[in-house]
């Protein structure tokens, strides 16, 4: 394949709900032409409104040269939408049979070298590759709402996916200012949604058992861990909570708490192997930056963040100014 063939210039979006429209807004802001397809009545008008709502944020973040809300075209068939596309982003509802049928149509009409990226939040790419003529170019590219602002996109290849396809996709999503996370092992729900689901299910249990209201649970996140998680994930956060000895001390001190009846989620056994994976993971991630220095960075960030969020926390009893 020569470099001209590799170039991603024309984009197609199939399925224009909240996620599909989020992709369209991001693609347009990055200066692309987008061809869209959705069989629902009024889809083009809803997309126009969604773009209008997203655009002020995109302007604030900085538009690419030539970016325009007008550069999206709705067409009446999948064939027309995908035939000239270099990358097709699929966002139809999360039902396996429906997704597989739509992906088969896309595969049939798309250029063989075009990348087909499914936004599925749960289905494995190998499942979606079944029955395709060119399964190698089917990947999962799972974004997060609002797609036009949040940088995370999980990239997952299936059994048939080649590393050059993954590399092209990785470069493309980076070029539209995203942070691709390449998931090495297929699993239902990928990684981010498994984590969110665990917290979500526990939240539902707490509401169901009458322990806390939805609003109290939201408060329990935003005023505490939520502030930290915008900068550091759960591992690096606990690495710092362990004091100067980091995660090693943390696991010694709080490891036994895994046996306690907290949460409805059964804990894995904290074997030496798992301990070492967690500790060395944190140490490699921290690099040669000492904990004290990470702590300074964390504190500077949190102080600035607190300044920022006080204006934006949604407190129902606070009259909005």
């Amino acid at each position: 394949m020569n470099s001209k063939m590799n170039k991603i210039e024309q984009l197609a979006v199939i399925g224009t709900g909240v996620i599909g429209n989020g992709w369209i807004a991001r693609f347009l802001a990055m200066g692309y032409d987008v061809v869209a397809f959705d069989p629902a009545e009024g889809a083009a008008e809803r997309t126009r409104l969604a773009i209008e709502r997203a655009w002020p944020s995109l302007e604030q973040m900085g538009l690419a040269e030539g970016a325009s809300t007008a550069r999206v075209t709705f067409v009446p068939t999948i064939e027309e939408a995908v035939k000239n596309a270099d990358l097709i982003q699929e966002n139809v509802p999360e039902r396996e049979e429906l997704k597989k049928n739509v992906l088969k149509s896309i595969d049939q009409y798309a250029k063989p070298e075009a990348i087909i990226a499914s936004s599925t939040s749960g289905i494995k790419p190998s499942t979606l590759q079944e029955g395709l003529q060119h399964p190698a170019r089917l990947i999962v590219a799972h974004p997060f709402n609002p797609v036009y602002i949040l940088p995370l996109v999980e990239l997952v290849g299936g059994e048939a996916t080649t590393s050059s396809i993954m590399e092209r996709a990785n470069q493309f999503y980076q070029s539209i200012e995203m942070k691709p996370l390449i998931i090495q092992k297929e699993i239902e729900g990928h990684v981010a949604d498994r984590l969110m689901e665990a917290l979500w299910r526990e939240s539902l249990h707490l509401v169901n058992d009458g322990i806390a209201t939805t609003e109290e649970i939201d408060a329990a996140i935003i005023y505490g861990a939520g502030l930290r998680w915008a900068q550091m994930g759960p591992f690096l956060t606990f690495h710092l909570a362990g004091g100067d000895k980091g995660m090693r001390h943390m696991l010694e001190q709080f490891g036994p708490a895994l046996k306690l009846p907290w949460t409805k989620l059964e804990a894995p056994e904290l074997t030496n192997d798992l301990k070492e994976k967690v500790i060395s993971g944190c140490e490699v991630h921290a690099g040669d930056v000492p904990i004290a220095e990470l702590e300074v960075k964390r504190n500077e960030f949190l102080v600035k963040l607190l300044d920022l969020v006080e204006e934006y926390w949604h407190e129902p009893n606070k009259v909005s100014s």
Copy 2:
């Protein structure tokens, strides 16, 4: 009790690890005198260093008049630490028997009207009240690291706790610029740690099963959900993800996903009762602010946050400037 007796002026901190020192730093910054006790060798010196590390952030957030790092005194016994205190914050290691013994000593020497607040992350206050002479004034006040920056504190009363004690504690923690969350029902792990533990356990499963590294899991949080959770918790976030119909649409569309094998955490059954609790919880929390307006607020916040965090995300391969 007259209002003079209610006034909280003198503070004691028992146990000066990471959490105890965090409390001391916050109390000092708010202009209080603090008397501290910790039996460990070198504790006073470690506290001095911890305050020194915290102080630049506290200065940046704004010190109270007269606030000084010098206004902490270490004393050799629990009796001396607590005898004149109006509020005693206990932070000894998370072992039930140890905590109960220390709390009994505190109870014995403290003024009867003093509030005793335990920082326990997991033990129920009723358990800690067992055997105290004045159990009514024992509460849980569970903070989050770094205590001198994060505003969340979970307040939990035990069976013996009176509502006037809870109200005094609530007012005190608000006065030191915290966001108290009053937990109505005692439960091991309270609320915030149950949520964090669910996410933490799922993270450990993913590492254990070889799906993702600690660094990848951190990335899966910070570049996606973590950004949202600094402003809105899981419920309000999903309320917005449901589009203009909010949580009601969200549960219709994604409720069935609770049956999928995502996460190791078993989901509660989504009964009509639970559905209604969740939907009305979100609707009450949102107040009369329409989803579109919440969305504007969210977007404005996220755009500013992205600007802020880019400087602070810890990427190991990025040379720090």
